[in-house]
């Protein structure tokens, strides 16, 4: 079981959280910490890249929803990059496709933040 979290600043003043592996009840606190740290530093426009995520459960979704709620309080947003059909299906089932901006690539997700 593994989770990789890599945070980087992109050229256009957005921050990208690149995730890889499995996001579940065990690993989601690490994802939450990374997102919380960015928000606490005053970064409210985030791209969370899920391209390398193989699995996500409700605790992972909860972390993403929590992050979105916090940045929206400051006029920001969270866009997701997701191409895995199984993970897209989970966003569909839960109706989260209507809440998050979900994009096929990072460029599109960053562009939509502007």
């Amino acid at each position: 079981m593994d989770i990789k979290v890599h945070v980087r600043e992109s050229d256009d003043d957005a921050y990208v959280v690149e995730l890889g592996g499995e996001i579940d009840v065990y690993t989601s606190p690490k994802v939450k910490d990374a997102i919380t740290e960015l928000i606490d530093q005053g970064h409210y426009n985030l791209v969370i890249n899920l391209e390398k995520v193989r699995y996500i459960d409700s605790t992972g979704l909860g972390v993403l929803i929590g992050g979105l709620k916090r940045v929206r309080e400051h006029g920001g947003t969270v866009n997701l990059v997701c191409t895995n059909p199984q993970i897209k299906k989970i966003f569909d089932i839960t109706g989260l496709v209507k809440i998050f901006g979900i994009f096929d690539d990072e460029a599109g997700a960053k562009k939509a933040l502007a």
């Binding site: 009840v25 409700s58 839960t94």
Partner: protein
Amino acid sequence: MNAIETGAEHLGTVELRIPGKPEWVAVARLAVAAIANRLPFSVEEIEDLKLAIAEACTICIQQGAGIQTIDITCEASTSHLRVEVRDDRRRTRDAGANARRPSITGVEAEGLGIFLIQALMDNLEYSADPQLGTELVMTKRVDS
């Protein structure tokens, strides 16, 4: 659903006990995937099962502060896979008693986990009681 009632052939029962801690949920997920792989489920259906079982284990952990173990029982038949997930409070207090097992419509559903299980499986029975513990029984048909 019952294998005898449906006329389906019972293929086998697998029992697994994991510690009631987050780091062990992945073991349950992978074990159930291996069991499901013995039945003619599609890759997508196996992914659905993995998520549903993990959600059930997560619910047991989140609702059962201090639980020691979670029992997962998988009954495979030619027509379906039935999976029971229960925490150790259920096992120790429920021996011989009639378990209260209302359908999901009869209890307050907690969060996305229950919602996902309902969406991904064909049937779910769920009960959660602070003293009796948590139990989820779910079924996925082979042809669903």
